[in-house]
């Protein structure tokens, strides 16, 4: 890692940056140790940011509703390495892992969590509505399932402009039961839109179990209702997730239409920060903990010989430094001016 500055040229944190820049060209390549390392780097960035946020929330230094991605790092990272900064992302309230994997810089992201004027959305949107067009983070919605129809539109524009961009939309298992999911997949298939529908199945929707709400064994199967390629993968397996993502992104970029990927994973921190999670049986929780993707992936990286303990530790140090710098920036930034209330309601033509 040469670039240890807060952010690389395109404004994405260097640690997470290296990969994406040329991902498109390599996504069809084999899953090399280098690719594994790139996934790890993005995943670790997510992981360290998440840990930091939870520390801040516990200590009360950060006050915001927070939906931890803990456990879903690999899903986002293994997909993220295949995307270009110009590709589009539509995600949800539980989207910080997707946003970081897409390359959003830390400063505007953190400042938005801190509700500051320097936040990506000037403090007006907040964590549930993170937007950062320069890195393709187009929409973060707090409404379950609503991102899917919007993703189709971004992809339709790309299809019309022939700009070669791919739109990734992420959502949960619970979202696969709402009407917008159905309408969006049907339209995307009919119009052969360059979209990747990534369902992050963490087995719960708030406190409701997957089985209680979803009348299908694997959400990936639902793709068949739309004549769409559908795949169900272990989202905690870096290689499986990387391959499924590579294929879907390639398909979209080649103009061959959408793909539905169901990534089986788990959320270790409950629905929101502070969720006691009493509805999760201990045995079930422990079984998932045993499959925690982070230690598993770290071990794989070391085993591959692509990086040493020391190098990984150095990467952690670099990322932590970027995090501290960004947090300082957020903390030092001013709150939005009260006058902002009347701005951005309508455009200049108004």
């Amino acid at each position: 890692m040469t670039n240890s500055s807060g952010a690389s040229r395109d404004g994405r944190p260097a640690g997470a940056g290296g990969a994406s820049a040329t991902a498109g060209s390599r996504s069809s390549a084999a899953f090399t140790p280098q690719a594994l390392l790139e996934v790890w780097r993005k995943a670790r960035l997510i992981n360290l940011v998440d840990e930091k946020f939870r520390t801040l929330l516990r200590s009360g230094r950060l006050a915001a509703v927070y939906y931890s991605p803990r456990g879903q790092e690999i899903v986002a990272a293994a997909m993220g390495v295949h995307l270009q900064p110009t590709d589009y992302l539509v995600t949800t309230y539980r989207g910080i892992h997707d946003q970081l994997a897409k390359g959003i810089p830390l400063k505007p992201l953190f400042a938005e969590y801190y509700a500051k004027a320097t936040g990506a959305c000037k403090g007006k949107g907040g964590p549930m509505h993170i937007t950062h067009p320069q890195t393709g983070v187009m929409v973060t919605t707090g409404i379950v399932g609503s991102g899917l129809p919007i993703a189709n539109g971004l992809a339709w524009a790309s299809q019309l402009k022939k700009d070669g961009r791919v739109t990734l939309v992420t959502f949960g298992d619970g979202a696969s039961n709402i009407g917008a999911f159905h309408e969006a997949l049907n339209l995307a298939s009919l119009w052969k839109l360059p979209v990747v529908f990534l369902c992050q199945n963490n087995l719960y929707g708030e406190s409701s179990k997957y089985e209680k709400c979803t009348a299908v064994d694997h959400i990936g199967e639902r793709a068949a209702s739309y004549r769409m390629p559908g795949v169900t993968v272990d989202g905690n397996d870096a290689e499986a997730m990387w391959r499924a993502s590579a294929e879907a992104v390639e398909r979209a970029r080649a103009g061959e239409g959408p793909t539905l990927i169901e990534a089986k994973t788990f959320r270790f921190m409950g629905h929101y920060f502070g969720d006691p999670g009493a509805y999760i049986p201990k045995e079930e929780y422990d079984a998932h903990l045993a499959k925690d993707p982070m230690p598993r992936t770290r071990a794989a990286v070391l085993a591959s010989g692509i990086a040493t303990e020391a190098e990984l530790a150095q990467y952690d140090a670099e990322v932590n430094a970027q995090i501290e710098e960004a947090l300082q920036f957020a903390a030092d930034s001013p709150f939005p001016d009260v006058g902002e209330i009347d701005i951005d309601v309508y455009g200049a033509t108004a």
């Binding site: 509700a115 039961n177 009260v338």
Partner: protein, 337 residues
């Protein structure tokens, strides 16, 4: 009996959450046709994310209190269908911004079936939802959209301003024979008030003169009515006598009670949390000025929130939200002091 209701029995006061919870409990106890559905509402899911339905599925059975998928159209549709077959379903839409999803079911079906069937069928459902700005939940989790439903014939819209009213009015909705939208305020849910009498239903359609006064009428519903009481107290010390008319049922509106009050005081300040423009307050003003033209000692003023998306940052959210001070200022303005 639910946890909430149980704890409530001890004290003479209860919180809004306890009131909602008790009303649901008592309704289920009173009438076996009362059933519930919504996301995470059964005890297996913790009894609702706001715990309002806690204990109900355990006591009355999972068949009467069902957790649903995240499918608001299916939730309201199921409530409508069950009501056509003689049940009294209570559907929970977790937060009001999500009610945008089942609008077709509510507006084109629940509200219209009685009329379109020539009275052969009717839809006695209650839709409970929660909302309100001030908790930093931002643009998609704070909207007060009651004006939409007030504009739809066939719907009834209810917003309580005290725990006791919440209890009586929620029972009123459940046992009313038409589709009712019952709005719970997420900001004041832990605030307390005198406990209601068990089983005492407040019939819908009647406004409540919550404080008698002679100089100016504050007319509205929900959270701002609570602020109005504080202001009224304060102004009383200055010899200003404020009357407070709590609509309780926003629509159909009890115009008579409103006009009686304003005819007496000659001054009115209309209050609600929703953004001012095209809000329910405009209708209240329009009725007052038409009926009492010439009798008004001042223009009818409105206090409401700003016509913008609810911002996340607290500094902006506070600016968005109506302020108690605005109500006081409006009252003084109508009095010219």
């Amino acid at each position: 009996m639910t946890t909430a209701a149980a704890s409530a029995d001890k004290a003479g006061v209860i919180t809004f959450t306890e009131a909602f919870s008790r009303a649901l409990h008592d309704a289920m106890e009173m009438d076996p046709t009362v059933i519930m559905l919504g996301e995470d509402i059964a005890d297996e899911e913790g009894g609702g994310i706001f715990k309002v339905t806690k204990g109900l599925s355990t006591k009355f059975g999972g068949h009467r209190v069902r957790t649903t998928p995240i499918s608001e159209q299916a939730i309201i549709g199921a409530a409508i269908g069950a009501s056509l077959a003689g049940m009294r379903p209570v559907a929970e839409i977790m937060l009001m911004n999500f009610i945008t999803v089942p609008m077709d079911q509510i507006v084109n079906h629940a509200a219209k079936l009685r009329f379109m069937s020539g009275g052969q069928t009717h839809v006695p459902i209650t839709i409970r939802t929660r909302t309100g700005a001030g908790a930093g939940t931002g643009g998609q989790h704070s909207d007060m959209l009651e004006a939409w439903f007030a504009h739809v014939a066939g719907m009834k819209v209810v917003v309580p301003s005290t725990p006791a009213d919440a209890y009586g009015l929620l029972l009123g909705c459940i046992f009313d024979d038409d589709p009712c939208l019952f709005i719970e305020d997420q900001l004041t849910r832990a605030q307390t008030g005198p406990a209601p009498v068990k089983g005492e239903i407040i019939k819908l359609g009647k406004a409540h003169v919550a404080r008698v006064g002679t100089d100016v009428s504050i007319v509205g519903y929900g959270r701002p009515i609570r602020d109005a009481h504080v202001i009224a107290e304060k102004l009383a010390a200055e010899g200003i006598s404020v009357e407070i008319v709590d609509l309780r049922t926003v629509s159909p509106m009890d115009t008579e009670t409103v006009l009686e009050s304003v005819a007496k005081t000659g001054r009115a300040v209309v209050v609600h949390e929703a953004p001012k423009s095209f809000g329910c307050g405009a209708e209240i003003v329009a009725r007052i000025q038409e009926a009492l033209y010439g009798q008004l000692k001042a223009p009818v003023l409105r206090v409401a929130s700003r016509d913008v998306t609810v911002p996340f940052s607290r500094v902006l959210e506070a600016e968005y939200l109506y302020k108690a001070a605005d109500i006081e200022a409006a009252v003084r303005k109508t009095l010219g002091r």
